[in-house]
């Protein structure tokens, strides 16, 4: 009989390091000592459980969830969909996926965002959903615009949607950003370039998915998310007491 064991360690050569000087804010916010590596205990292999009661069906529809009745936000109507998988390729069902983004003009509905592009009265810019039994999620939204940010004088963020994912264990907790195929700003972005290798950067670029579009209505992009996988242990060395 096999039991579930620990999670695979995070590949720190694949993930961005803490200190990435071209992304200037990281300089004073990056720990200088090494992280202390912990083998998993019950505190790490567990994590919050969410249910469909926690959210409403409209929460994943950013075109409707903040719009006045009969109105909708301005911009390119898109679907962003995909699966949440683990490193073993198994779907992760019933996990919470949260998303937030700028509007079509590149402006966030946030009191700290002072970019001159206008707020869209019909666009909130956040959504959330729980994956289905196959690990599948879908959002309907407006394609976000690029926006400038203070790093070097002339930095522009590529269009992106921020995503937060839980998995089943606190050790899988992840925040990332979804970019869009064909955007020339991706290769110029110091935040994208915190990821050490090109293959890793490419894995954050959602592919145009014409098969999933709704013809004459909404275009689609596919964005799969991979969380850390877990060992199955047949022999000794398993977690005790969990």
């Amino acid at each position: 009989m096999t039991t579930k064991g620990e999670f695979y360690q995070r590949d720190r050569e694949w993930q961005p390091p803490a200190l990435t000087p071209d992304y200037k804010t990281s300089v004073a916010r990056s720990p200088q000592y090494s992280l202390i590596s912990l083998q998993n205990s019950v505190s790490e292999i567990t994590g919050p459980v969410f249910g469909h009661n926690d959210i409403d069906p409209i929460d994943n529809d950013l075109i409707l969830n903040y719009a006045k009745p009969g109105e909708s936000p301005i911009g390119e109507r898109i679907i962003v969909h995909g699966r949440v998988l683990d490193e073993n390729g198994r779907p992760i069902p019933n996990t919470l996926v949260e998303a937030w983004q700028a509007n079509a003009g590149g402006r966030y509905r946030h009191k700290k965002d002072t970019y001159l592009a206008p707020i869209d009265p019909n666009f909130g810019g956040c959504g959330r959903t729980v994956t289905d039994e196959n690990g599948y999620y879908i959002f309907r939204t407006i394609k976000p615009g690029a926006y400038p940010w203070r790093n070097w004088v002339n930095n522009w963020r590529p269009a992106h949607i921020h995503m937060s994912i839980f998995g089943t264990a606190f050790t899988q907790r992840l925040i990332t950003q979804c970019y869009f195929e064909g955007d020339p700003l991706i290769d110029k972005c110091p935040i994208v370039k915190t990821i050490p290798c090109q293959q890793g950067r490419d894995s954050l670029v959602a592919a145009l998915d014409l098969n999933a579009t709704i013809p004459l209505d909404t275009i689609a992009y596919k964005f799969d998310i991979v969380l850390r996988g877990r060992r199955s242990t047949v022999f000794e060395n398993r977690l005790e007491g969990n």
Binding site: D11, Q15, S26, A28, I36, D56, E98, T176
Partner: protein
Amino acid sequence: MVQKLDYLKETPSQTAGPYVHIGLAPGAAGFDIYRQELGWDITGPNAKGERIRVEGLVIDGTGSPVKDVLLEAWQANSEGNYAHPEGGGDVEDGFRGWGRVITDFETGEWAFETVKPGRTQGRNVGLQAPHINLWVVARGINVGLNTRLYFEDEAEANAEDPVLNIIEWERRRATLIAKRSERDGQIVYRFDIKLQGQDETVFFDI
């Protein structure tokens, strides 16, 4: 050449950015969108145990408070059980043990209310000291930082804690111990997180 291992790679992390509140705490960003926000109630109404408040600052390498942080807390109930199928045992009805809090935009102070967790099972033998697992994200943090809050008044349990004990530098262990005080009849634990520099908080690769 050898056979290919067909594992997938974990999705690379990216900073939560300055506007993390929009997605994870929209009320704080200044607008109301959901029927209910998640993570504001860690314990639910039925939790047993000592009611506590936990508060602090997140401080950067220049000594300045970081004002755009989001923290998540993950903890056991007062009996040491997590609200999870592998969490060790039952929890009170409505106890989730997970919370989310943001720093004040002006001061950088954060705080949440909860119950003091009990001791939990260690990885192999023995028990862990009571602790709250914390996860810190913000602009400028490329991969969320994991740390643990332990309690000053649990000296005996702390001395036996397997995680505190693997920190080779004994004086760095103190960065994980929250200071207890009482204010207006409420138990308050202070836990400042230093991202960098002198007395940098211990962060874990979990």
